[in-house]
Symmetry: C2
């Protein structure tokens, strides 16, 4: 019997064993680690890049496909296309799968990556045995409680408003045994009969403009117990942030309505979270809120009016902590609803949360966190200096203003690959359903592929003189490219990408890269000096990193330097929910992070104009992308 080779896969964080005679792609898929591939494993889409860290001798040699698709640097690092490399020996093989090649990283989206933090929550419980009140011990209930508590908790502790009313019965009901819930070890927010110290729950909420995600956390262990999400119920009042600010400002009860609907939404999520663990909202002791500055302001009942006009000053930067009733959250009545701090009008608590989740603030090497949305927040730097900006990237990546644009729902084209020879188009859709439209990651892929295959030029213009039968003039004489024919599509109609669509994507990516570029210039950085790009949020997770670099949206780093941190806003919020140290750090960081108002930058217009080109008018900013282009027909 032949001895089986031991293939170890290393997705950033996991290990997978495997067998001889098969491709690394198959083995990875067997191991439940879904690697990107669009071309069906024929070695032409180059989405399945992996790095063989050791045991290269037990893998078949490089194929011609690999030699064509991988550049010198990639080859030198041991990079292979997983569909081309077959196991052929009996040694141990260690294969690293960059996050960019993992289909599985999509699953990160809701939870986000979370760095380990020691649970040091703001909410703690202390069980106490009190001496009974007698004629020889006449102390008042509060004195009695505080004096016993002082043996266990140092420093001055006060009893929160409203808790006094429950004190007498709570301490007497279970024979003078009671449990005190403390906030930051200085305020008693609850006194319960008996010992309930094994029940300490909190909720973290990320209020996104389009989606609200809530996480139930065990505050003793720090464990994430359950996640629930829903579309932001404010959507009917305005699709994007600006529309909602307008609604809140122009209607007398606009702000109050928006606050009420989002609070009701959060209450629904809390109820579901509680049902998952057979507890009740009354067991939720703290809720930690993050969101962009406008979502934050509206949730806390603060007018977002001044965020909509220069100089876009937020009303509140510092972190807040309010009563649940103040923001209509259904949880323990004297619990706390806290927020992370904001940085600026368009760099909110969610960006602070991203920053916490990324760990960028403690790196020695330079990193850049990019959270793409209608507004894209970027924070760059390292432990010494951090600098941020917000880019008005618009809703194109959410499918808006794109002819066949749609959200990443069933049937949305999420991956596009164009064969360089035949210009044959391969698509991947959400749920592998027949295509109905195209979502953000699909359209970025499409633009990247069209450009790489010279079907559009650097200015984005569709080359209608191409002999390709998918490139043509559309109904109103405007050039377009057919992604799916009527027979291929799930709607019975053609799905095309138009000249206008391409321009929308150029505007959006130019907005982002203008921010990237200005921050890089402020930090006097070249792309090669960026050690890591942290791609946060839904779009950042779904978009293909290589495509994003190819169109000039991300800085020109090699793809393995891109880390997908998923819904980092959610994970940062959870980290801060369970650690006061992280919370205090967030407060510090929000002060420390410099903010650049792009609109006030002198060279904004020229930067933007240059960034409209694919990948950029100044190709020296994109040496990697440029060299890959030069290798093409």
């Amino acid at each position: 019997m032949m001895s089986e080779p031991h293939v170890q896969f290393q997705p950033q964080g996991r290990k997978v064993p495997s067998k001889n005679g098969r491709t690394l792609l198959d083995l990875a898929n067997d191991a439940g680690l879904s690697i990107e591939s669009i071309c069906g494993g024929v070695g032409v889409c180059a989405k399945c890049k992996v790095i063989v860290r050791s045991g290269i001798g037990s893998v078949t040699p490089l194929t011609s496909s690999e030699k064509e698709w991988l550049d010198a640097l990639e080859l030198a690092s041991g990079m292979r296309l997983a569909c081309q490399a077959t196991v052929c020996g009996d040694g141990q093989i260690v294969v690293e799968v960059p996050q960019a090649s993992q289909r599985g990283h999509h699953r990160l989206l809701e939870a986000g990556t979370e760095r380990k933090v020691r649970p040091e929550p703001a909410i703690t419980k202390v069980a106490l045995k009190l001496p009974p009140a007698t004629l020889k011990d006449l102390r008042a209930d509060d004195d009695r409680l505080l004096e016993i508590l002082a043996r266990k908790v140092k420093g001055s502790v006060r009893i929160a408003q409203g808790v006094h009313a429950h004190l007498p019965s709570a301490i007497r009901k279970n024979d003078w045994t009671a449990t005190v819930t403390l906030f930051r070890r200085s305020e008693i927010i609850r006194v319960e009969p008996g010992d309930t110290s094994d029940q300490v729950f909190g909720v973290a909420v990320d209020i996104g403009t389009t989606k609200v995600v809530a996480y139930l956390v065990d505050l003793r262990t720090g464990a994430l117990l359950h996640t629930e999400s829903m579309p932001n119920p404010q959507i009917p009042f305005g699709e994007d942030v600006i529309a909602r600010i307008t609604y809140a400002t122009k209607n007398e009860d606009g702000l109050s309505k928006l606050q009420t609907v989002v609070a009701s939404g959060i209450n629904e999520l809390i109820l579901k979270l509680c049902e998952s663990r057979d507890i009740t909202p009354d067991d939720i002791l703290e809720t930690m809120i993050v969101g962009n500055t406008a979502m934050h302001h509206v949730f806390f009942g603060i007018t977002p009016q001044h965020l909509a006009a220069a100089p876009y000053a937020p009303a509140v930067r510092t972190s807040l902590c309010v009563d649940p009733s103040h923001v209509k959250v259904n949880m323990y009545q004297f619990g706390k609803v806290c927020s992370l701090p904001n940085i600026a009008g368009f760099v909110g608590a969610d960006a602070v949360s991203d920053l916490i989740a990324s760990g960028l603030y403690e790196d020695r090497k330079i990193g850049m966190m990019i959270d793409i949305g209608t507004n894209t927040e970027i924070i760059a730097g390292n432990k010494n200096r951090l600098i941020s900006c917000s880019c008005a990237s618009g809703p194109a990546f959410e499918g808006a203003h794109i002819r066949f644009g749609m959200r990443a729902a069933t049937g949305a084209i999420e991956r596009v690959w164009i064969d360089p020879e035949s210009h044959e188009v391969r698509l991947r859709t959400v749920d592998d359903s027949p295509p109905k439209g195209i979502c953000g990651s699909g359209i970025v892929d499409a633009v990247a592929e069209l450009f790489k295959n010279r079907l559009i030029d650097a200015s984005g213009k569709i080359n209608v003189s191409s002999k390709d039968d998918r490139t043509r003039k559309g109904k109103r004489g405007l050039p377009e490219f057919v992604l799916a024919t009527a027979s291929e599509s799930g709607t019975g109609e053609e799905i095309t990408i138009t000249q206008h669509d391409i321009q929308e994507i150029q505007l959006a990516k130019a907005a982002i890269f203008t921010g990237v570029s200005i921050l890089m210039k402020k930090l006097r950085l070249r792309a090669s000096e960026i050690d890591r790009v942290y791609a946060a949020g839904a779009f950042g997770t779904y978009v293909d990193a290589a495509s994003a670099i190819a169109i000039g949206m991300y800085p020109d780093v090699s793809v393995e330097r891109i880390s997908f941190i998923g819904n980092a806003a959610g994970s940062g919020a959870r980290m801060c929910l369970k650690s006061t140290k992280m919370r205090d750090l967030a407060d510090e960081l929000s002060k420390k992070v410099e903010y650049v108002e792009l609109a006030a930058e002198k060279n904004f217009q020229s930067e933007f104009a240059q960034a409209m080109f694919l990948p950029h008018r100044d190709l020296s900013r994109f040496p990697g992308a440029a060299s890959r282009l030069r290798g093409r027909p």
Copy 2:
């Protein structure tokens, strides 16, 4: 032309000039200083005692009345009966009128005496000129405000929940001039456009079991601007504290109902206070609450249940500070409703307030504060040690359980004098209206007079064998004394004082003196060592000090050592409202004051039994009273 003598009256605190040939009584009345007198100036009621401090040569010599009514010690101190002493020279005369002899001290009742305190209120306002937000100064509104404020206020300052919502418009509305309201210089509770720093108002409220008094105070100057009062609207739910505790405990929504009605009452008073100065409740920034422990607990929505049974532990001793909405008080929404601390279940925030108003805590000499009510709080000691107790004196002094008892309303007999020779009865009634009944001070006078004239004996038994035609057996054979005949009374019916009435008063005064006596013993004090007795509250103000000593209710000190401090609970509350130093002192004192639970004292029963006698079974405890008695027929 004859030179006029200069007569200077010195009521404790005021000076009055006057003329030759007239009695000191007349001159004092001319000067607006109303001196007690019941006998019409014939020198037989001895209520008009004054002390001639200098210029005794310009006053007529002692009359036989004075020699009879004043004892050796009093004569030695220069004491005279004002109705007997006539000005007869041209020198300067300085006359001191003890508070006990001032009818005017009744006017102290609502306001109470207030010792001067430097205004250092918890609430302060700071007007600020902010640099406008521009593209070159992108600070968030909160940072902007806090950074400018930091130049004027040291230490960390946070913005209270809810205030953030008003911040953006408040700072922009009046061209970046705004006024910040601070609580204890550490919390911003309001931000208003423009400069409003000349409008800083607070309210102090004394929630008495029978009466609620509210005071409007200018917190900048400390001036008392206006006073309003009303009967406690909880009365329909129970006349006394125990009845209200029962109501709160036995009815499901009892506590909430009692809280709501008293809060509504306070809101009415606040509205009236505001109308008096043309301001609105929104201008009231802080409300300081005092009351007995039960009133305090109920107002703050805390069950008073455990106050009703041994060991009578209060739920809360420490001072509270809550949001107005939490206690339904109509004032500035993010203002503060604070309380003084309690000492024990029946020595509440009102007693702490009395203590503050009395100044007893800073005396070197020993004093005793007595606040008589259904429960009588006593605090004795000096700056080194303070000791307190509560006596269940019952409602007899409010007219309850007394056959013709009534509150001190129009027609209530408030002063009684019985002629030692003729046993003729002289009465003074409230508003000098024909008598309808007898109130607390009247019944104490009556018992004292009956006893001094040996119409009752030391056990309180009415001497029916007396030849007096006002002493007789009543309808059911029980002895009684006729205070007013049918023709004298305002009701057309006789007003009598019965054997039972006398016993009620004995029980009440014994309850009080038991407390006095136990505290004296704990402090190893004789009466002569008590430098000052502070008589607080309504009854303490109205009752005749000499009569109170004669029946053995107060310790046996000379009457000029009795200071009437009026509604000291109200004045202490005002002092604490306008001075955080006094407030901190109250917190300290409430911890420092020792509490003696009389019910737990071994010798309680024997002390009580002895105190049932008039003035006491052990006459060595009442040497002054005993010597005055010995001088009688």
